[in-house]
Symmetry: C3
Subunit: 142 residues, 3 copies
């Protein structure tokens, strides 16, 4: 069994933003030695998320609008009140959305290729930007 | 380390629909050679989802009603507007729900058996049917 | 390839409650023989969930309030109506939230250590307490 590690760096420039990281994941898989197994993109942050969906900027607006409608940026959040005045900590919405969207994704690797459906892209979801983010990538298999 | 691949085909006949695929997963695990490890049901589609919950048709109505209440089928979606007039693309709600419900599930395999709680079933969640769907199943272990 | 199994027992005393289980997971990983791989915390229940986020009791109140706002404890649920009068089954909200928050989490293990971001804790989310719960922990790797 082989296990390889890598990382993906992302720099966001908006409060909420979707960044397509599919090319990064494909490159890591294609350059790796594991031909059959699983690649996991693990998000070590608590105010952003990763998911899999279509590469469609219009849809990304829909996603971000729906997320904000379900969990508004401004609300009577205890977390925000505790850190009243600290602009970097007014982000309870981002924590909550992280637990709903999900914090990591795993994709199969088969015969050296990433298994992705026709319309699937790996999407990074910034919920409290702008920030620099670093995702952990693990490939396990043989 | 062994890795085995299989797939599960599903044919849905409603716009939103839950299909219990537990039997398919159990059969794949029981017929496989991997006795200890993990089975992953990976959904290569972007407008349906998989999750784990109870086999209870009344609860499935509750799930589908809650999903539609949280993310209505009709809304001012940019994705739908872009594809105005294309009936197969009026599905932003399904994309959004896919990112919330989740796009794959992994279950432990122990001594040749699928590890499932008493009330757990593996559920396929159609969000934009009716369609034919195909899920990728991977068993990794030893 | 090695696979080890363990479990985490949790006793909750509120209807909705968050319990930090990070120490349990770290202990299991540190006492295990697998030095590189993945630890999966698999929840075999259908009315509670696991996720990863910050250790912050004020934030936990925000999480539980948001979950209840999105999926109210009382509603016209078919599941609850079917089990009318059975107090232990008035829990459709918990089933629905389980499918949104997620039913298991996987974390990388690298050189014998759990890979966790600075602000990350492993959180158990009780949605229909008080109850005794038991989570399955699997470590797979080498």
């Amino acid at each position: 069994m082989g296990i390889a590690w890598d990382e993906i760096s992302i720099s966001t420039n908006k409060k909420l933003q979707i960044v397509d990281i599919t090319r990064d994941v494909i490159e890591i898989v294609e350059n790796g030695k594991v031909k059959d197994g699983t690649v996991t993109i693990f998000n070590p942050h608590v105010t952003c998320a990763v998911c899999i969906n279509e590469h469609d900027p219009e849809l990304w607006e829909d996603l971000l609008e729906a997320y904000q409608r379900l969990v508004p940026l401004k609300g009577n959040y205890h977390h925000n009140a505790k850190y009243d005045g600290m602009s970097g900590e007014q982000n309870a919405h981002a924590h909550i959305l992280n637990t709903l969207i999900g914090q990591s994704v795993s994709l199969p690797v088969k015969s050296g290729d990433l298994v992705l459906g026709t319309w699937q892209s790996v999407l990074f979801v910034e919920l409290d930007g702008s920030r620099g983010r670093k995702l952990v990538v693990q490939i396990a298999g043989k």
